[in-house]
């Protein structure tokens, strides 16, 4: 029973003690339309074709069927999230959504990719993932576009803090101090 509980956690976005604990529904859905390992997901996957380390059929087998606990980094980060596997699957298993859940779990365990950390930092700074540049503001003006509207950064920061993600922001401060 304990083992089952732990593996369920692998498919959840779990903010320990936070206001939201979203448990993905992969496991309950899987019990009604189980994967029979036909391999259509891997057959249609543009990454699997280029890199044998990445295999959505194996990921479904290991994490949905065998309930393994060890997340296979870095291979889960190679997924494009193009969702071709979802279209190919005859059982509606949604392999790319399983990968999203595994990435959430990996992140909780401390494996945060640099580009994602940068995105989060930027969103906390301006509300957008892309910094504003004077050259682009000038181009907007030349093209007759209104100035870029300001985001409500306070509300965005509030949400990020409420979800417990502000812990990922501290590293940047530390890195900058080190520099």
């Amino acid at each position: 029973m304990q083992q089952h509980k732990e593996s369920a956690a692998a498919y959840s976005t779990h903010e320990q003690g936070g206001p939201i604990s979203v448990v993905h529904k992969h496991e309950s859905e899987h019990s009604t339309r189980p994967c029979y390992q036909c391999g259509s997901c891997t057959g249609g996957c543009p990454i699997a074709k280029r890199n044998a380390e990445f295999n959505p059929r194996r990921i479904v087998q290991r994490f949905l069927m065998k309930r393994e606990d060890k997340i296979p980094s870095p291979s889960i980060w190679l997924c494009l999230l193009c969702h071709t596997c979802i279209e190919r699957c005859p059982q509606e298993v949604k392999p790319s959504h399983v990968i999203v859940a595994l990435r959430n779990k990996a992140t909780q365990d401390g494996d945060v990719k640099d580009y994602i950390r940068e995105e989060l930092n930027q969103i906390c700074a301006t509300g957008w993932t892309i910094p504003s540049m004077p050259a682009i503001a000038k181009r907007r003006e030349t093209l007759g576009l209104p100035p870029m509207p300001a985001a409500n950064v306070d509300e965005v920061r509030n949400i990020i803090k409420a979800m417990g993600l502000d812990k990922f922001l501290e590293d940047r401060k530390e890195r900058e101090t080190e520099k």
């Binding site: 976005t13 903010e15 206001p19 939201i20 604990s21 979203v22 993905h24 543009p46 990454i47 280029r50 890199n51 870095p74 980060w77 190679l78 494009l80 999230l81 193009c82 969702h83 071709t84 979802i86 279209e87 949604k94 999203v100 859940a101 959430n104 992140t107 945060v112 990719k113 580009y115 994602i116 995105e119 989060l120 969103i123 509300g127 957008w128 993932t129 892309i130 910094p131 540049m133 682009i136 181009r139 907007r140 093209l143 007759g144 576009l145 209104p146 870029m148 509207p149 985001a151 409500n152 950064v153 509300e155 965005v156 509030n158 949400i159 990020i160 409420a162 979800m163 993600l165 990922f168």
Partner: protein, 293 residues
């Protein structure tokens, strides 16, 4: 309800304002009323932020949707990424009462709430369903016959089709029909629904550009003069990607990349410079010369 709440996102207004300029001009010429949204944020990104934390992704998305609900308008997005996020969040939270309750507990602290009373639409749906191919044809003043276009829909306007419901995920047609309304020909090419590769740039740039290279190779085999895209991420991947591929010694292609409203704008007689076509990295001059020869 009259018109749409315009959700700009990040990449179009902050990096590729030519896409915004052409979209606004074309929609205005077709009498689609746009109301700019205020106080929005990043949609957020369906790849990075969803991979980081699904619950945060839902909450930030729901906050953006709640702003359009206050305006009593459906959302119009110009970008596949914004569309995938906002449409998916909207559909999930409309259906799942328990998730909605949890997200609203977060939004409540901001004095906001997700009510589930609007729809999220992509630019292409508005052009195809609201305006229609017939009206686009009627507005063409510069017939683009002779232009061979490779259409690239992009993943996040098609898949997962059970949620997005825009077109057939394997044999989509609506972009091709809109392109052909201008007189241009939509060429048939292999790997048409293959991803542009952009979403793993930050993880494996080689693999990312390998996908881009495959798309370009197939489009060229079908004698395409240009790519037509619906998304700033795909636009950048093809436009900047070809420069990167050239400098790494892989390929020598310079296939112009046009956002659909840029192509329609040219056909409508709009000034290419005023739409910002000069801002593309892959120059569009040869294509425009072909049109205006």
């Amino acid at each position: 309800m009259s018109g749409y709440a315009l959700f700009l996102g990040c990449m179009i207004p902050l990096r590729l304002p030519n896409m915004e300029a052409s979209a606004r001009k074309v929609l205005e010429s077709l009498d689609i009323k746009l109301v700019d949204m205020k106080e929005t944020s990043c949609c957020p990104d369906p790849v990075g932020i969803q991979s980081l934390d699904y619950a945060t992704w839902l909450s930030l998305g729901a906050r953006n949707i709640s702003i359009a609900e206050d305006m009593n308008l459906d959302i119009l997005t110009l970008c596949n990424g914004c569309f995938e996020t906002l449409k998916t969040v909207n559909e999930i939270l409309k259906k799942d009462g328990s998730l909605r309750e949890k997200v609203n507990a977060v939004l409540d602290g901001l004095g906001r709430s997700f009510r589930g009373k609007i729809e999220v639409r992509h630019l292409i749906e508005v052009l195809y369903k609201d305006v229609g191919v017939k009206k686009i044809k009627e507005n063409v003043v510069t017939d683009l016959t002779g232009v061979n276009a490779a259409t690239h829909y992009g993943c996040h306007v098609l898949r997962p089709s059970s949620i997005l419901k825009v077109d057939d995920p394997d044999e989509p047609r609506i972009l091709d029909e809109l392109v052909e309304a201008t007189g241009a020909r939509s060429v048939s090419y292999l790997r048409k629904t293959l991803c542009c590769g952009a979403t793993i740039r930050g993880i494996s740039k080689d693999t990312s550009l390998d996908l881009t290279y495959e798309k370009i190779k197939q489009a060229k085999r079908s004698h395409a003069d240009c790519f037509i895209v619906l998304c700033p991420t795909c636009f950048n991947q093809f436009d900047t990607g070809q420069v990167e591929l050239r400098s790494s010694g892989k390929g020598d292609s310079s296939l112009p990349v046009l956002y659909l409203p840029e192509l329609i704008g040219i056909a409508f007689g709009m000034n290419a410079e005023e739409m910002g076509l000069g801002l593309h990295k892959i120059k569009t001059k040869s294509l425009l010369e072909k049109v205006f020869q």
